[in-house]
Subunit: 191 residues, 2 copies
DNA sequence: GTCTATAAATGGATAGAC
DNA sequence: GTCTATCCATTTATAGAC
């Protein structure tokens, strides 16, 4: 029975997080309050403290959840085969992931919330993503020092410009294939 | 005498803006209040309304100032000559500009402040930067559609990753030359 | 587990005296 | 031009009743 209680508790936690994400998408990553979240789930603000230690704890759970979602996307991708195909699929998946949820992009990849730092547990997920990325590129014989960093800079740059300067459009997302070709040509000639 | 008054007024405006920048660098772009700014310049909060219409007006002036600073940097750069040289100088200048002041980077290139939109006058400066960039690249015969956008994505990506994930270090800034070579090789082969 | 009530602080902004 | 005083709203968070 404690099991059922724990399940219900966890379900409510997820409801709260989903409400927070929805508000972030509507009003910006920092444009909502605990009262707003509480109202969205039919509660009063103090009741949230039964599920989270405070607003930063909610941000931390969102941070972890965002990276878990990214890891799930990476799991669906092919990791071997033609480098252009593997990188192209990965690039589109990643940029889509970022552009489809700008506040998530800000939370995961930019330092936007004054005072907020992810917990060690949450940050470990971020490192896991990096580690997977490194493994994928290494499998393609792209493992010069800095290659992963150049790759992430290129993709987050495209995504960030798209979200900030042409929300809803495709001015930068349509450059993804060109960026992949550029990256691959450059890296392969020196591999 | 009205001239002297206007000069003093403008000087105080600059003092206020400089205090706001300093606070933004210390506590994050949104981590300060009008009271904080006022205290920094030896005033009380209401007195600021003699110089700005409110907090968003300060953000707007900062936005304009940031782009004016960027335009000034661009003015110091060579715009003709060896493409690798021109692009390399420009890339280093731009990334340094971004990394040296992360909150400025957020204000100019990311949508971070809930509800804030730059005024038409301020936004015109942003378009002026883009226009200059376009002219520089066109002079180098790099004027395919999308070339400017790929360039800005690459450079803001490097700068953003550097500021967010290795503040004070050089993990991404040291990739600037490599990024320039990559970009130039790719663009020249199709020009 | 959720509520009311409230603390305690902070925020942007305005009115009116000097 | 700057101040004091204050408004009014908002925020995170806690105490304690039910």
């Amino acid at each position: 029975m404690s099991d059922r209680r724990a399940q219900r508790h966890e379900a409510t936690r997820q409801e709260i997080l989903e409400a927070a994400w929805a508000l972030a998408r509507e009003r910006g990553l920092t444009g909502w309050s605990l009262r707003d979240v509480a109202e969205s789930v039919g509660m009063r603000a103090p009741s949230l403290y039964g599920y989270f230690d405070g607003k930063d704890a909610i941000y931390d759970a969102m941070f972890a959840q965002g990276y878990e979602q990214l890891l799930a996307r990476l799991d669906e991708l092919p990791t071997r085969g033609d480098p252009a195909e593997v990188l192209g699929r990965g690039a589109h998946a990643f940029v889509d992931f970022c552009v489809s949820d700008p506040p998530r992009h800000q939370l995961l990849f930019q330092r936007v919330i004054p005072g907020f730092e992810p917990s060690a547990e949450s940050y470990a997920l971020a490192r896991e993503v990096l580690s997977r990325l490194h493994a994928i590129l290494a499998d393609l014989d792209l493992d010069r020092p800095g290659t992963v960093d150049l790759w992430t800079a290129l993709l987050t740059g495209l995504a960030s410009q798209q979200a900030s300067n042409d929300p809803g459009g495709d001015r930068w997302t349509r450059l993804v294939d060109r960026a992949v070709d550029m990256f691959l040509a450059s890296e392969l000639t020196r591999a």
